[in-house]
C-alpha cells in the first residue's frame, strides 16, 4: 500500500459537506460575535471565500455533489413556508392577499421596465423581473427562527413571502414560454414545457400534501417521532421526484405545504418540528449559496443590480406602508414589513439553467445580472430583515414598536 501524498488528495463529497458545515458554523459565529450580523451573513461570506470563484477549496464539482443537501434544505424551508399560508385566512383577510399581489405586480412591472430599458431584451427582462418578485423563504424563515420573531409583521411577512414565491415561479414559467416562442422554438417547447412545469409541479405538490395528511392522520398524534421522519421522507421524495420528472421542486413543495395547512385534517401535520432537524442543511445551503456567488459578476452589473434592489425595496416599503392600516398594522409596521421582504430568492439561481437555453446570446448577461443582484442582496438582506423585525418589536428582546 502506498500512502497518498498531499497534492494527490481529493476531497470526496462527504468531506466537502463536513468542510461546508464546519467552516460555515465558524463563519456564522464570527458574524454574530464580532460584527453582530445574522449568522446567515457569515455562512454566505464563508461560502464566498471558499467557493470556486475565490479560494476554490470547494470546486464546482464538489458543490454539485453536495447539492442534494442544498436541495433538501430548500425543500424543507419551502414546505414550511407553504404551511405559513393559511388560505382560509386569506379568504377572510383579502387585504393581505391584495397587498401581496399588488406588491408583486408593481415589482414585476418596475423591474421589467428598468431591465428592458437597459437593453436586456424582453425575454430576459421578463424572466428576471419574474424572479425579482420572489422573497427568499429560507432566509426569512431562518431570520425569524434565529431572532425568535413573533407577531403580525412576521406572520404577514411569511405569508407574503410564500405567495411571492408562487407568483414568481408561475411568472417565470410564463416568461420562459414567451422566450421560447419569441426565439421561434417549437410550440411544444413554448407551451407544453411551461404548462408541464406549472401544472405538473402543482399536481405533485397537491398529491404530496394529500398523502402527507392522510398518512399523518393514520399514524396519529401518539406517533410524533414517526410523523416527523415520515414528513422528512416525503419532502425528500418530492425533491427527488421533481428532479426525475423535470418539474419545479420549489413550487411543488410550496404547494404541498399550503395544502397540508388547508386540506381537511391538515391539522394532523400541525407541528412538524422538522425545522429543528433542518438546521444542518440550512447551514450547508447558505455556505453553498455563498460559494455559487461570483464577485466577478459585480464588475459589469453592480450599478444595475443595486438599482434593481433599491427599486424593489422602495416599492415594498411604499406599498406595505400605504396598506398598513387596512392590514391591521401601524404605518411604521407596514413600512418595516416592506423592508423585511428584501431577501431575493436565491433558489432562483436553480432556475437559471432553464432560462439560459432559450436566451441564446443574452444568456450571459442574464446570468451575470442575476448573480450580481444575488451577491449584493444575500449579504445585505438578512441584516435588513432582522433589523426590520427588531424595529417592529417582534424579535426576542426587541424594543417595542
Amino acid at each position: 500500500m502506498t500512502v497518498p501524498i498531499w497534492h494527490e488528495l481529493m476531497l470526496n463529497p462527504l468531506a466537502a459537506f463536513g468542510i461546508l458545515l464546519a467552516l460555515g458554523v465558524i463563519g456564522g459565529q464570527i458574524a454574530v460575535r464580532v460584527a453582530r450580523l445574522p449568522a446567515i451573513t457569515g455562512y454566505i461570506v464563508t461560502g464566498l471565500i471558499i467557493g470556486p470563484y475565490s479560494l476554490n477549496l470547494l470546486n464546482q464539482q464538489l458543490l454539485n455533489e453536495a447539492s442534494i443537501f442544498v436541495q433538501l434544505a430548500l425543500g424543507i424551508a419551502l414546505f414550511e413556508a407553504g404551511r405559513r399560508v393559511d388560505l382560509r385566512w386569506l379568504r377572510v383577510e383579502k387585504t393581505l392577499l391584495a397587498t401581496a399581489l399588488l406588491y408583486c405586480l408593481l415589482v414585476f412591472a418596475a423591474l421589467y421596465a428598468l431591465l428592458n430599458g437597459s437593453g436586456f431584451g424582453a425575454p430576459a427582462s421578463l424572466m428576471l423581473a419574474a424572479l425579482g418578485m420572489a422573497t427568499s423563504p429560507i432566509v426569512v424563515l431562518e431570520i425569524v427562527r434565529e431572532s425568535r420573531a413573533d407577531g403580525q409583521v412576521s406572520e404577514r411577512l411569511l405569508t407574503a413571502t410564500a405567495l411571492s414565491s408562487v407568483l414568481a415561479m408561475i411568472g417565470f414559467a410564463l416568461a420562459l414560454s414567451y422566450s421560447h416562442l419569441s426565439a421561434n422554438h417549437t410550440v411544444e417547447e413554448g407551451i407544453l414545457l411551461p404548462g408541464w412545469l406549472i401544472l405538473g409541479s402543482v399536481a405533485l405538490g397537491l398529491a404530496a400534501g394529500l398523502v402527507t395528511t392522510l398518512l399523518n392522520r393514520w399514524l396519529g398524534g401518539h406517533q410524533r417521532e414517526a410523523q416527523r421522519v415520515l414528513l422528512f421522507g416525503l419532502i425528500a421524495l418530492v425533491v427527488g421526484l421533481a428532479d426525475m420528472l423535470a418539474l419545479l421542486a420549489l413550487l411543488a413543495l410550496l404547494v404541498a405545504g399550503m395544502s397540508t395547512r388547508t386540506l381537511r385534517h391538515g391539522y394532523t401535520v400541525s407541528e412538524p418540528g422538522i425545522l429543528s432537524l433542518n438546521h444542518v442543511f440550512t447551514v450547508a445551503f447558505f455556505v453553498a449559496a455563498g460559494a455559487y456567488l461570483s464577485p466577478q459578476a459585480l464588475a459589469s452589473h453592480w450599478q444595475l443590480a443595486l438599482l434593481c434592489l433599491l427599486l424593489r425595496g422602495g416599492i415594498g416599503m411604499l406599498v406595505w406602508w400605504l396598506a398598513a392600516r387596512a392590514n391591521g398594522l401601524s404605518r411604521k409596521q407596514g413600512a418595516l414589513l416592506g423592508l423585511a421582504l428584501s431577501p431575493l430568492n436565491s433558489g432562483s439561481a436553480l432556475l437559471l439553467g432553464l432560462g439560459m437555453v432559450s436566451l441564446g446570446t443574452a444568456a450571459t448577461s442574464f446570468s451575470a445580472a442575476l448573480m450580481a443582484a444575488l451577491m449584493i442582496n444575500e449579504i445585505a438582506a438578512p441584516f435588513l430583515t432582522r433589523l426590520a423585525l427588531r424595529l417592529a418589536g417582534e424579535t426576542a428582546g426587541a424594543s417595542h414598536a
Binding site: V92, G220, G221, Y267, E271
Partner: protein
Amino acid sequence: MLEFSQSQPLTLGVELELMILNRRDYNLTRGSDDLLLQINRKPHGFDIKPEITQGMIEIGTAVHSDVNAMLEELLAIRKLLVDGAHKLNLGLAGGGAHPFQHWDDQRIYPKERYQLVSELYGYLAKQFTVYGQHIHIGCPDGDAAVRLTHYLARYIPHFIALSASSPFYQGVDTSFQTSRLTSVNAFPLSGCMPLVDSWQAFNGYFERMESLRIVASMKDFYWDIRPKPEYGTVEIRICDTPLSIETPVLLAAYAQMLARRCFAEEWSDISAEPYLTYSYNRFQACRFGFDGVLVDARSNQQQGLQEDLLETLRALEPHAEALNSQSQLAALRQRALKCHSDSRWLRQIHEQSGSLNEVVRRQSEHWMYAPAGVGVN
C-alpha cells in the same frame, strides 16, 4: 391607611385572562398589542387590557346585579375579540394553562408594573403565563369584606373543581385537574389572607408589611381571595379560566349565592381552625377535582368534594331563588352530579387525537364559536 370604597352588596364583576394563539400550531403568540390595536380602532367601551406576558389578554365585565346581563356582556366582548382575531388570524381560548408552551418563549408586556414584577420575580414572572378567572363581589364595607374573605375560604375547593381546565403543562399530563395553581404557589405572597377579623386589623397588617417594604399595594398579594378596597369588593382569584363563555357566569352566580348567605346569616365565625386544612383541601381539589376528599378540622370528619358541593348547593336554594339564579344553580348541580369538568374534556380529546396541538385547537374553536349554553361536555 387603605380606604375601602363602598359598593352595592352582592353586585358582581368578572375578569377573564385568555390565551392568544397562532392558528398554525396553536402555540401562544405575541399578539396582545396587535389585537388591542385592531379592536381599539373603533370605540367599544369594554374593559380589555394586556396582561403580564404578550400571549395573554384580560377582559373584564362591568358591574352587574343580574348574571344573565353579565352573560350578554361577555358574548358582546367575545364577538368584538373574535372579529379582531379573524383579521389577524389569531386564536383565542380559555383554559388555565397552555398545554405545551415553553415559559422561556414568553415575553413580558412592556408596562412598568410588569417590568418590575419581572425584575423582582425573575423566571416566575414568565411562568405566570397562566390564565385565571377573577370574581368580584360587592361589599358594603371593609369589615364585611374581611368576613366574606374568611367565609369563602371554606369553599375554595369547590371553585377549583368547578373551573379546573389545566391538566397539561409544558407538554405533559400533570395528573392534576388544575396545574395552574402550582405556578401561583411559587410567589412568596400567595396563599390566604392572615387571620385578621376586621378592616382595621387588616390595615394594621398592611401597614406593617408596607413599613417592612415587602408590599406597596394590594396588587402585591397573590392570595386566593383578597379584599379589593379600591373597588369595594372581595376578589376570588382561584378559578382557572373556563373553556366555555357561560361557565364564568355560573361561577360568579355561585359566589353571589354564597356571599348572600354570608351576609344574610351575619356570619363572623373567624378562627384559625379551618385554615389548618386549607392547603390540604386546596391540594385535593387541584389534584383530584370532584373526586377529592375534604377534611373538616372542626368536626374531625372527611367528606368527598362532590358530596360537599352538592350539599352546599342544596343549602343555597333559597338564596338562588332570591337572586333569580335558579337556572345557574341547576346547571352547577348538573356539573357536580355528572363530574363534568373542562379538564376531563381536554383529556378525552388528547386521548383520541394524541396531539396537544389538537387539544388547543379544539379549546380555541370552543371559546370562539360555541353558542352559550352548550358547555364542553
